[in-house]
Symmetry: C2
Subunit: 302 residues, 2 copies
């Protein structure tokens, strides 16, 4: 087995954060990311970067964090009770971009690395991550491009990886109480240690590096699409689903809040403006109903 | 012990829903409650009443529900594992009122009754409920009136009841990740079966009946208070805390979603329009900072 290097992962993550912020800031053109470094009482900290009221990005956050502690929190050991009580280190980059224009989808990406340690025993480590897309008014070519880029990123690691992580993503980003997927998916993986460290790390890098080429062309293509109040209101309504998912289901959010992370950094994922209407249903055959029938369904895109 | 009567509780709850809707609809003056009756696949159903875009109430819901099932869901047995696996009936009225004017506080009330049954054993029953207030721009006299009404409602059942339920409310409506109470509290109780059925039911009725006299005068007094965009934006921002509490912590919401309740009825508690700003802090000595320093603190109001 190849040697585990926390430092190599950390260097990669900090550089990834820089590259993503540079690319998105350039695409926005008007606003730049504000940086806040923070420390966590129980160990570790982070470097949050948030952009608000840009020309293209209404609110976006790209966060690096590296936290450690005496005990893995319950959200991390639910699926692996044998790790309960171990000390841990967790580091990752997590981002959510909420564009202003309803024709630009919201995107989310995350790559992370965990090590759980116990004296006298070998450390247990794993990678996780992925990226997923949430359109308001969908374009098939955008979703195909998104999934195509995801598939290419997984290719070198075996042809079973993309379908596996694609299905995992569909299963994970699902709102049970709505019987609705959050969006059109992408990739999701967790507990990855099936390869040796070098290969697992390379797969995580390949997915992390694929986010900008997956998202930037969509942002560029749709950011100047004309829209009116109708599209804006539908976007605000659909953003409610994002809030519901993140606060009710998302393990990353719950892990962050349970492990004493910085609340403002964790909740930067919430959209800037959101509406909830009682019992809303889109008009039949409208552009809004198309989202539900053509995009928020189980579908193979590539 | 006095006889348990599900029918008596149900009759009371349906009548309470009528009385509350009549009083709030009259205070609004412009809009009326829309009614939706629904049935639950696994047994039971409800009668939801929702008002949107009123003159005074921007969004409000007053729901009656009566659900039953083969197994109490985990959210109901966490504190009482000995009841796991019992069949149950749950009925209640739950309401949330989000006023348009930022000088009118949001209010929430709930009264509920549970029976958990098992063949060959005596049924276990309990009452729960309470009401709590969430101001944006606080007025001391409003909060004192709210708590005074709460205290009077508890008085006939012993002088220890108000302080106990007031403290319980402070503890329950607390956002740990913000180190912040949701509002200025009121009453909260659960698992109430310390008195016989008749007395417990009478206490629940006394609290249910006290909601309108506690809230209506505040609504009447503040609904025409002048406000501008600054106050509106602060209200939208603070409403975010309401969403965070309901989706992350609220047992009623989680019980509803876990027990297969009607999602639109459960989530009618979410505000109509909400904003999240990254790392917002009110200006020192502003009206907004007063909320944090004078109202969102631990305080005895009567």
């Amino acid at each position: 087995m190849s040697e585990v290097s926390l430092q190599a992962v950390k260097d990669y993550l900090l550089d990834l954060q820089d590259r993503i912020c540079d690319a998105l800031g350039a695409e926005d053109g008007a606003a730049t990311f504000r940086e806040d470094s923070w420390e966590r009482e129980q160990g570790g900290g982070g470097r949050s970067r948030v952009l608000e009221n840009g020309a293209v990005i209404e609110k976006g956050g790209v966060n690096f964090s590296h936290v450690f502690g005496e005990q893995l929190p319950p959200s991390a050991t639910e699926a692996r009770p044998e790790l309960a009580g171990r000390s841990f280190q967790a580091m990752g980059v997590s981002l959510v971009i909420h564009p202003k224009n309803p024709y630009v989808p919201t995107s989310h990406a995350n790559v992370r690395f965990f090590v759980a340690e116990k004296e006298g025993e070998a450390p247990v480590w794993w990678f996780g991550g992925g990226f997923d897309l949430t359109p308001y008014y969908g374009f098939e070519e955008d979703v195909v491009h998104w999934h195509q880029t995801a598939k290419v990123a997984c290719q070198p690691f075996g042809k079973e990886i993309y379908p596996e992580f694609k299905t995992w993503c569909d299963d994970y980003f699902y709102l049970k109480h709505r019987n609705e997927p959050r969006g059109v998916g992408g990739l999701f993986f967790d507990d990855l240690n099936r390869f040796d460290f070098d290969t697992s790390f390379a797969l995580m890098r390949s997915i992390g590096d694929a986010y900008v080429p997956a998202y930037q062309p969509i942002l560029a293509r749709r950011k100047d699409h004309e829209f009116g109040d109708r599209e804006r209101q539908f976007q605000l309504y659909r953003r409610g689903r994002y809030v519901e998912f993140n606060l009710v289901y998302d393990r990353g959010t719950i892990f962050g809040l349970q492990s004493g992370g910085r609340t403002e950094s964790i909740l930067m994922s919430l959209p800037p403006l959101v509406r909830w209407d009682y019992d809303y249903h889109p008009e039949p055959n409208s552009a809004e109903s198309e989202l539900y029938h053509k995009f928020l369904i189980h579908r193979e895109w590539v």
